[in-house]
Symmetry: none
Subunit: 252 residues, 2 copies
C-alpha cells in the first residue's frame, strides 16, 4: 500500500509521457527550423533545442523510474524496492537553467562583453539556486525544506531582478517587430520560474501524502513544458522577427 | 481469460506496429523533403512531420502497453496486472490535433492576423473537444459514454463548419494548381475526423467485448494514419504546387 491512489499514479505517469512528447517535438521543431534565422541568431535557437533535448532525456529517465517505483498487484498500488529518483530533475535543471538564461541573452544580441558577463553571472546564480534547492526537495522535514527553500530564493530573486530590470534597457534597443516578443519572453521566464518555488511549497502548505506528490510532479512537469518548450518557441519567433528586421534595414 | 480472442489480440498488435511504421516513414519523408518547398511553406511541412513524429512516439508506447497488458499462457490469452493505457491516444490528440489544424491554415498562406486568429480559435476548440471525449472513452457505462460523446461533438461540429465554410473563401484564393489539392485536404480532414466519433460509438451500438475492443483500436489506428500521415503528405504536395505557382508568377 502507498499513499498514492492508482488514479494519481496514472495521472503522474501520463503527465511524464506528455512531457516527453512535448520536449521531443520542441527539439525537432527548433533544430529543423534553425535554418530560417540569420547566422547571428542560430546559436540561440540551437541552445533552445539543446534545453528541450536535455529535458527529453531526463523525462525519459523520470518516466522509467516512476514506472519501476510502483506496481499494481491485485488492484492495489504498491511501492517496489526501487524508489523514485528525484535527482533527475535537479541534474536536468543544473544543465538547462543556465542554458535557458543564455538563450535569452544571446537572442538579445548585446555586445560581446555584455553577453559574456551576463551569461556568466546569471548562469552561476542559477546553478547556486538549484544546488541550494535540492537538500530541501529530498527532505521530509518541513523546517529543513523551509530553510533550503529560503536560501535558494536569494539567487532566484537576484536573477528575476536582473531579468526584469537589468534587461529592460536591452529590450528597448530591440527592433520594433521583436520588442514586444522580447518583453513576452522576459515575462514568461519570470512567470514560469515563479511556478517552481510555489510547487516546492505544496508539501509544506498542508497538502499531504499522495496529493502533495501528485501536485509536485504534475506541477514541475507543466512548469518545465512552459519554461523550456514554449519559451524555446518564443525565442525562435524572436530570432525570426529580428532576422526580418535586419534584412529590412539592409534593404532600406 | 479475457474477452479478446488470441486472433483479435494479434490483429490489434499488428495494426499498432503498422501504424508505428507509417508514422515513422511519414516523418522522415516530410522532414527530408522540406527543403523542396519555398521558405514560406517550410513551417507547414515541418509541423506536418512533427504531428507524425508525436504519433510515432505515442504508438510506440501504445504498442508496448498492449504487449504488457496481455500474455498467452498454455494457448490462452490472459490479462496481466498491467492494464492497457488508453490515455496515450488522448495525450497524442491533445498535442497533434491543434497542430494538424495549424498546418492546414499555414499552407493556405492567409494574412498573419487571420492565420493567428484561426489557429488560436480552431486549436482551442480541438483541445476542448479532446478533453471532453476522454471521460467517455474510459467509461464502461453506455449513458456516460453518450453524454461525453455528445458534449465533445459540439466543438467538433464547430471545427468542421469552420473548415468547410470558413476556409472555402480562402480556397478560392489559392493558385490554380493548388486549389483542387486544398479542396481535397479540407475534404480529407472532415472525412477522416468523422471516423473518430463513429469509432467511439462502436461499443455503444451492440458490438460487445472483444469485438468492440478490436474495432476501436484498429479503427483509431486507421483514422490516425489517414488524418496524420496521408494528410501530411497532401499538405506537402500543396506546398510544392504553391512553390511552383509562386515561381511561375515571378517569371511572368
Amino acid at each position: 500500500m502507498t499513499e498514492l491512489t492508482i488514479g494519481q499514479y496514472q495521472l503522474v505517469s501520463n503527465f511524464f509521457s506528455l512531457t516527453i512528447a512535448a520536449m521531443g517535438a520542441a527539439t525537432a521543431f527548433l533544430w529543423i527550423n534553425r535554418s530560417q534565422v540569420a547566422d547571428q541568431y542560430k546559436t540561440a535557437v540551437t541552445i533552445s533545442g539543446l534545453v528541450t533535448f536535455i529535458a527529453l532525456y531526463h523525462y525519459w529517465r523520470i518516466f522509467a523510474s516512476w514506472e519501476e517505483a510502483y506496481a499494481i498487484v491485485d488492484g492495489t498500488l504498491i511501492a517496489t524496492s526501487k524508489e523514485f529518483n528525484p535527482a533527475y530533475r535537479y541534474v536536468d535543471w543544473l544543465l538547462t537553467v543556465p542554458l535557458l538564461l543564455i538563450e535569452l541573452i544571446l537572442v538579445m544580441k548585446l555586445s560581446a562583453a555584455e553577453t559574456a558577463s551576463k551569461s556568466l553571472k546569471l548562469g552561476a546564480l542559477a546553478a547556486i539556486m538549484i544546488v541550494l534547492g535540492y537538500p530541501g526537495e529530498v527532505s521530509d522535514v518541513s523546517s529543513t525544506r523551509w530553510m533550503w527553500w529560503s536560501l535558494s530564493m536569494i539567487p532566484f530573486l537576484v536573477i528575476v531582478y536582473e531579468l526584469f530590470v537589468g534587461l529592460k534597457g536591452a529590450q528597448d534597443q530591440q527592433p520594433e517587430g521583436a520588442r514586444s516578443l522580447v518583453g513576452k519572453a522576459r515575462f514568461l521566464v519570470v512567470a514560469s520560474w515563479a511556478f517552481y518555488p510555489i510547487v516546492f511549497l505544496f508539501p509544506m502548505l498542508g497538502i499531504e501524502g499522495g496529493d502533495a506528490k501528485t501536485f509536485v510532479e504534475v506541477g514541475y512537469s507543466i512548469a518545465d513544458i512552459v519554461s523550456k518548450a514554449v519559451f524555446g518557441v518564443l525565442i525562435f519567433m524572436i530570432a525570426v522577427k529580428k532576422t526580418q528586421a535586419d534584412k529590412g534595414s539592409i534593404a532600406a
